[in-house]
Amino acid sequence: MAKTAEAALTVGERIKEALAFKTIFTVHIGSLSIPVSETVVTTWIVMFILIVGSILLTRNMRTVPKGSQVVVETLVGFLNDFFKNQIGHHWKIFAPYLGTIGLFLAVSNVISFFSPLAGFGFEPPFSMKPPTRDINVTAALALMTILLVIFSGIYFKGIKTWIKSFVKPAPFMLPFNILEYGIKPLSLCLRLFGNILGAFIIMELIGMLIPVFVPPIFSLYFDFFDGLIQAVVFVFLTTLYISEAVE
């Protein structure tokens, strides 16, 4: 009995250790010292991958596409068609933001699948955990989205119509309409965070149980499929909120 309790405690401790955010280095500016955590470093790596990929894939553009340009054009065309269908004729302003968020989330959710030396006690950048398991990242993304929704609503409708839209179906809907602007970012933030954290914890548990051969197979579902679905859902909901705001 005592032995099982001890074992359970160690599993809990190990999960806790895996969930903690390590401080990679500390920046000193005068008397100020800013700790730079694992999440920030992993986000830099994601940014690096995206920037280098964008530069490499868009070099030597031709009128008649060839090679990798075909793939990139198909992807961008697919995204643009999707935004055009959802948002309507104002889509062109929002497409870059939505596409960037989609690519960032897609890469950062699946990055733990590509970390070459996970589980050997290596520090980032050699062992990467998804940065979206940090609630600060998802909260920042949700905040950006809701600010975009508010400002695009004001810009495209005009401030008077926007304020009138709070009492739109009937005046008693006012508190619910105000509450909506708090619930939307909260649910966006928690949905992404919870999904990625849940998948991460399940992968850690599988890795503790059977460390070899089995984790990559489950990783295909939990990291790849779930991560990509969550990226799609985040972009889809953002598109929906924007189209609601500008129409």
């Binding site: 649910s187 919870g194 849940g198 889809f236 929906l240």
Partner: protein
């Protein structure tokens, strides 16, 4: 650890019941809709994805609460 915390975390995760039932119903209806009108499968797909994302959110809230109870 206080055992009551563990029990509370278990109760919080029971939100998964509702999400499971909701996603099951949504999937069944989506399959029915695609079987009836295969040409509308693109639209059905996007509405279905949105629906399961919203249904799943309740389970995720329960999970987040359980995590907060266990690890904070």
């Amino acid at each position: 650890m206080n055992p009551m915390i563990a029990i509370g975390a278990g109760i919080a995760v029971m939100t998964g019941f509702g999400a499971g039932i909701g996603i099951g119903i949504a999937t069944g209806k989506a399959v029915e809709a695609v079987a009836r009108q295969p040409e509308a499968s693109g639209k059905i797909n996007s509405v279905f994805l949105l629906g399961i994302a919203l249904a799943e959110a309740t389970a995720i809230y329960g999970f987040v609460i359980a995590m907060m109870a266990l690890f904070s």
